[in-house]
């Protein structure tokens, strides 16, 4: 994850694109394993997959420094991994083990890693937006030049909290990078059945924020847009809004039979798989051989296998500690 330390500056292009592929693949393979583990009842509760949307989290995180706070949703495995949260602590969290990033108390929807400045893991739709505004406010008041990146979905834009947060950020000129993951659906509700104005970038613009739409299936386009926006935010340009047009290849959650989407639509988007696209591009340009890819897959498979073994082997929080972390020890 050390390459992320140098994020912000643009690294060697060829090397960098391989990194992007690796990051996206790590997320994809990790979640594919999660599906297995869910069937095996190793992972329980709600499980929301990011498969198909990897380019968004990976692309945006390239534009962030380790000090930039990141606020995400309940569909956040991708953001967590792209942010550098260790796969071990993530897997252990899903296994409900004490070695999990949230000590097994949060699970898939509540991934937190203070060290990585990763602020979850918010399962109330729209609930993370005011938090991001507040973190950005704290930075601005202290004169710290940082960007708070906040991920949320198209559905969240309908919530009052989006409106209030967008207005506050724009009114107070706060360093927030709003990353709207427009995957076309809020559970079973299509964008056009939830929003009178479906051009979400235009809606955000109505608050006086700079905002534009980006192809969320093209990691290079996402990274490019995110760097531009983050730089402007960091330089005091006020909040920016990116509408990242993407799609989830899987159902909303493991409980969702996905009755509301038309198969042809799903197939059409799968044809634009960001991983397939970047792989093809790298191969064509001779930057990736089949052998390289095999090696990469092996490395990732090993990382996942090791994360599973570690999670399996780890302890659970003792029941006696149930009520721990409800209140902090009082300062003395």
């Amino acid at each position: 994850m050390t390459r992320r330390r140098t994020a912000g500056a643009v690294p060697d292009e060829g090397r960098h694109r391989l990194d992007l592929l690796r990051e996206m693949l790590r997320i994809r393979r990790f979640e594919e394993q999660c599906v297995e583990l869910y069937s095996a009842a190793k992972i329980r509760g709600f499980l929301h997959l990011y498969i198909g949307e990897e380019a968004v989290a990976v692309g945006v995180c390239q534009a962030l420094t380790p000090d930039d706070p990141v606020v995400a949703t309940y569909r956040e495995h991708g953001h967590a991994l792209a942010r550098g949260v260790s796969m071990d602590s993530l897997m252990a969290e899903m296994f409900a083990k004490v070695t999990g990033c949230s000590r097994g108390r949060g699970g898939s929807m509540h991934i937190f890693d203070a060290g990585r400045r990763f602020y979850g893991g918010n399962a109330i739709v729209g609930g993370g937006l005011p938090l991001a505004v507040g973190m950005a406010l704290a930075d601005k008041m202290r004169g710290i030049s940082r960007v708070t990146a906040c991920f949320f979905g198209d559905g969240a834009v309908a919530e009052g909290e989006f409106h209030e947060s967008a207005n506050l950020a724009a009114l107070w000129d706060l360093p927030v990078l709003f990353c709207c993951e427009n995957n076309g659906y809020a559970m079973g509700t299509a964008l056009e059945r939830a929003h009178a104005e479906t051009d979400l970038a235009a809606r955000a613009g109505s608050y006086g924020m700079v905002s534009w739409a980006v192809d969320g299936m093209d990691v290079l386009a996402v990274e490019h847009a995110a760097r531009r926006a983050a730089e402007a935010v960091r330089d005091g340009g006020g909040p920016h809004f990116l509408e990242l047009r993407t799609y989830r290849f899987r159902a909303h959650s493991m409980y969702d039979p996905d009755r509301y989407r038309d198969k042809a639509e799903i197939e059409a988007w799968k044809a634009r798989d960001p991983i397939t696209a970047l792989t093809a591009h790298l191969k064509q340009s001779g930057q990736l051989t089949d052998h390289d890819l095999e090696v990469l897959e092996k490395e990732i498979a090993a990382e996942i296998a090791q994360a599973i073994d570690a999670a399996e082997a780890a302890d659970t929080e003792p029941v006696e500690d149930l009520t721990k972390f409800v209140y902090s020890p009082r300062p003395t």
Partner: protein, 332 residues
């Protein structure tokens, strides 16, 4: 309640019973419509409204955007205008976003207008823990809602009540909140094909017993019944009272039982402090102090945001064993 002969009855799930009640209401009264997130194309986040869109169309099975405050408020407005809206808030956890509308408008308008404005609104909410969905999806706030004057709060704990409470609620001129416990949707029991409306005024004795009054509601009822079964094996006869309606409380049924048994245990899935069990305990001491042979015992949820780890969640919630133990203390 008419008695039915064996061949009439057939096994029906709590979910199916709720759906049958919704269908009946939509057929009986054209003023009735259903509004909420994913009630239509998705079929309801717990599948309760599945198939209703196809039968009744998108006007009456109305998918709403993620805007809890606005669509609950719109339900109030539609009720004021003479409709009979059934608003579904996916889970009580999200209803906090609509609490201003519920407390400051729905519960208040009749009084504040000097009796001019009735709000014949029904709100359905899923409540309860037990599925490892962690802190933001596991609240049991129905007892807390029961603090609010102007609201009627009901908690169907049986398939029969799931089938029968809705119509009675719709006939009520005032707002009624129906709390459905997530753990009950798959519960199945025999139900007469012509099962219909039930009263929502009185508590019910689900199991008679002479030694102790065991009070429960919603998701706690099956656990209380299980505890009563365990206790019977040891010769302790618990009388299980299902509150059914949490506001206004049916003191008469509760106190009559207490005066017979002289000992009380209350099982409540709410956090202990300020849970409904406190109000019941206070009322019993106020009205039957000299009939009590032992202090009223409460078995409630630990005062902790519900953790994801199954063993911690299990320990946080009242269980048949902990309920039985409390009964033993009370009779011991």
């Amino acid at each position: 309640m008419k008695t039915v002969t064996a061949q009439e009855v057939k096994p029906v799930s709590y979910r199916e019973a709720l759906r049958a009640a919704l269908r009946e209401a939509l057929l009986k009264d054209e003023r009735v419509f259903i509004m909420g997130e994913d009630v239509g194309r998705y079929g309801g986040c717990y599948g309760v409204t599945l198939g209703l869109l196809e039968e009744f169309g998108p006007e009456r099975i109305r998918d709403a955007p993620l805007s809890e405050s606005a669509f609950v408020g719109a339900g109030i407005g539609a009720a004021l205008a003479g409709m009979r809206p059934i608003v579904e808030v996916m889970t009580v956890n999200f209803s906090l976003l609509a609490l201003d509308q519920i407390m400051n408008n729905a519960a208040t308008l009749l009084h504040m207008s000097g009796g001019q404005l009735n709000v014949p609104l029904v709100i359905r909410l899923t409540t309860g823990a037990g599925r490892q969905v962690a802190a933001q999806h596991s609240h049991s706030l129905e007892g807390w809602y029961a603090h609010i004057p102007g609201l009627r709060i009901v908690a169907p704990a049986t398939v029969e009540d799931a089938r029968g409470m809705l119509w009675t609620a719709l006939e009520d001129p005032d707002p009624v909140l129906i709390f459905e416990h997530a753990g009950l949707y798959n519960a199945t029991s025999e139900l007469s094909p012509d099962a219909g409306p039930v009263d929502i005024d009185s508590a019910a004795i689900r199991r008679p017993g002479r030694d102790v009054t065991l009070i429960a509601y919603g998701g706690m009822l099956p656990k209380a019944m299980a505890a009563a079964g365990q206790l019977a094996a040891d010769g302790i006869e618990a009388e299980v009272v299902d509150l059914r309606t949490l506001r206004p409380l049916d003191d008469a049924t509760v106190l009559a039982s207490v005066r017979r048994t002289h000992r009380v245990v209350i099982a409540d899935e709410g956090w202990r402090s300020g849970s409904l069990s406190a109000e019941i305990s206070a009322r019993i001491t106020e009205q039957a102090f000299y009939d009590l042979d032992a202090p009223v015992e409460r078995v409630c949820t630990a005062e902790v945001p519900i953790p994801y780890a199954w063993h911690l969640e299990e320990a946080a919630l009242p269980q048949p064993e902990t309920i039985a133990a409390a009964v033993r203390r009370a009779v011991g």
